[in-house]
Symmetry: none
Subunit: 220 residues, 4 copies
DNA sequence: GATGAATGAGTTTTCATTCAT
DNA sequence: GATGAATGAAAACTCATTCAT
């Protein structure tokens, strides 16, 4: 996933996301991990401080509040995932390829070592985010959803999917986000992320009369 | 849904679940509502007390702890939903009918006015339950899952579903549970619960004419 | 000061102020004392708790916040002082008597064992009160000031005072409030409150051509 | 007020007070402003740093502690005000002129753009000063008070004032210091500082024709 | 002299839970 | 069964101060 790393590097140098090697970036990653495993409410700033090796009070040198940590975890994660999705969609020319990219990117966002924790936090801890935080992040989430809806609508127009795009997106959102609860792509032997992508597509795509031509593996 | 009410009445008189009209039952319903909308952690016993009209301290005449309230909400809900599922499955003779019953029961559990809140709590607040609570409830959840897996395996054997039962169940679990976030069966005009059931089945069922036999079971 | 105690008793039974013998009333008095001697900011809820013999957290059973304690100290004090002033003014028929009542009441409010601490807090810790608190208390303070201004204006019209009422009131407010820093009416031998009242009046009143007739001691 | 500026210039070049144009002097002025408007306790070193454009930590290159800032604000202010008072008293030959100088200097100290904030801090934040700080500043304050008492005692001996000097000084101290809360000499149209001085004198001075000799009681 | 990261002791406040009445 | 006062442990957050760079 070279291009993916390039994307991240660019976002870091643009100041859009925090360098994961900086003290602040380390804190964000540890916080995402704790938020995911324990939940936001059950994670104390003491926990976070212990995880990065500073005292609780020192956290507020980097973030004004615990809420700002959650918000930043969410914001930076969706910024990265959105950038990756845009790039992946741009590389595909067929509708099927774009659907595959959407599914694959969401599975990657949900389950990769790099973004999985933050993405799961984004989905599961939404209610824990302050109203202002929600307002901010919602803008990005809506841009993300727009990509899905546009592609699904095009697929529907061409008869490649059988369900209403709106309904299908929501069913898929649930199905894909839920993978964080059971899918372990790193564990051998098992289902790879690409294989799971194909399974999902098998569910979604109406068999094309012209024997569909799943070409090889999307980027890894 | 007459038989459904009969089931509930029987469970109440058997002492398996609390009478929803009793003070304790009212408290459980209010608690389920608060747990769902605010989350377990952000709901204080003061909130619950206020909702039912008693002081916080008095709650501990009914339940030993806040955790016991959560556990009871979950236990009683899964007991009812499991009983309904058993009954519905018993009424169906075809595999397709049984699949339909599974989907429909889960959508009902997730979205009905009666059980929706508690079911959503069961799914979303699992991590908030104490280890002992989890152990207790897990027994019931596994019994519930057994019904799904058995039916899906039979369907797979007959080529009625295209995916590995284990994977399919998890994808569906995610998709169906997520409906609580967007599906409003009571709002007119819109998708009814039965209509949504059919949409889900359309996704899941292989068109019966082509009794296909895609092999290649992915691992678990 | 019998009538004065009657006034307080009535205010208590009307629920306008807290019974000083109740746990909450004790807390208010101790808080007023601490606020006066240490200042609001330097007084911790731990200090207050220690002074009344409960743990810091228990304070919030009685008051929602530290600010509410300050606000209550101020509100109840001005309610009592205002009631006393009204009564004292009502008993006087001459302008000079009313001026004497105003000065005397303010000296009493500022220096009596009963209200001195709270009154001093009201004057000195005003900035520490939250904006909402200030808004609430300001209404009462303005009513109090109104009595002063009305009387001073009448006195000015009759030539009994030499300065503009507005300016004179402010000079007097400073002079009288400041007495809390040096005046000790309880310490023998020394200036009594009534004597100090007369000194202040000597400063304020223009010697009436018609040999003024300071009748003896106002109520004690 | 030329001579006044001369005094200040001399004090600066003597090293008795900090040059207000130096970084340290700017800091002192900003701190005085913040201490006055927000109170010492509610003013953080972060606030002060922000006001002068440096980071909080850097403040400690100029002052050993926050308390030292407060102490310096107070010390330098009283040094200036005392020097001015001495000079003004030296210029007056009559008792009335000296009384006028005392009142005028105190009103100037309390309300001038240059010293008003620091003087108000001196009066209002006295309790916030550390015991050692209080000990240091008290020496200067007592020297200042000495000028008042001496002059008032002389005035009393000549029958120019009606009250005991000790009591009168305290009443006046309250009245004059309090002017910082309401007097705005810069706002047009309004009372000038000189006019207010005359009003105060009208209150204090016994009309010279009737050299009265009320012997009234001195205080404790 | 300034910076930025960290400290550590402190703050107000929250909240499940207890218990005498 | 309910009340109201209190507990006690822990929470998020503040802030003067230090110090290596």
């Amino acid at each position: 996933m070279n291009s993916s790393n390039d994307i991240k590097r660019r976002l870091i140098s643009d100041g859009e996301i925090t360098d994961p090697d900086s003290p602040k970036g380390v804190l964000l990653n540890k916080a995402a991990h704790l938020f995911r495993t324990q939940g936001y409410e059950r994670t104390t700033v003491r926990d976070i401080g212990r995880a990065v090796g500073i005292l609780p009070g020192s956290i507020f040198h980097h973030f004004r509040s615990k809420d700002e940590i959650l918000r930043t975890v969410m914001r930076e994660n969706i910024i990265v995932s959105l950038a990756r999705l845009r790039e992946a969609l741009g590389r595909e020319e067929t509708l099927e390829g774009q659907l595959r990219a959407l599914v694959r990117c969401e599975l990657f966002a949900t389950n990769s070592e790099e973004t999985g924790e933050a993405w799961t936090v984004l989905v599961q801890e939404w209610r824990s985010l302050s109203p202002e935080g929600q307002r901010e992040i919602l803008v990005l989430r809506e841009e993300y959803e727009q990509h899905w809806l546009e592609t699904l609508e095009a697929a529907r127009a061409q008869g490649r999917i059988a369900l209403d795009p709106f309904i299908l997106r929501r069913l898929l959102a649930g199905a894909l986000n839920w993978t964080s609860h059971w899918f372990r792509p790193d564990r051998q032997p098992g289902l790879s992320l690409d294989e799971l992508t194909e399974e999902v597509l098998r569910l979604v795509l109406v068999p094309s009369s012209a024997g569909d031509s799943r070409s090889g593996s999307p980027a890894a």
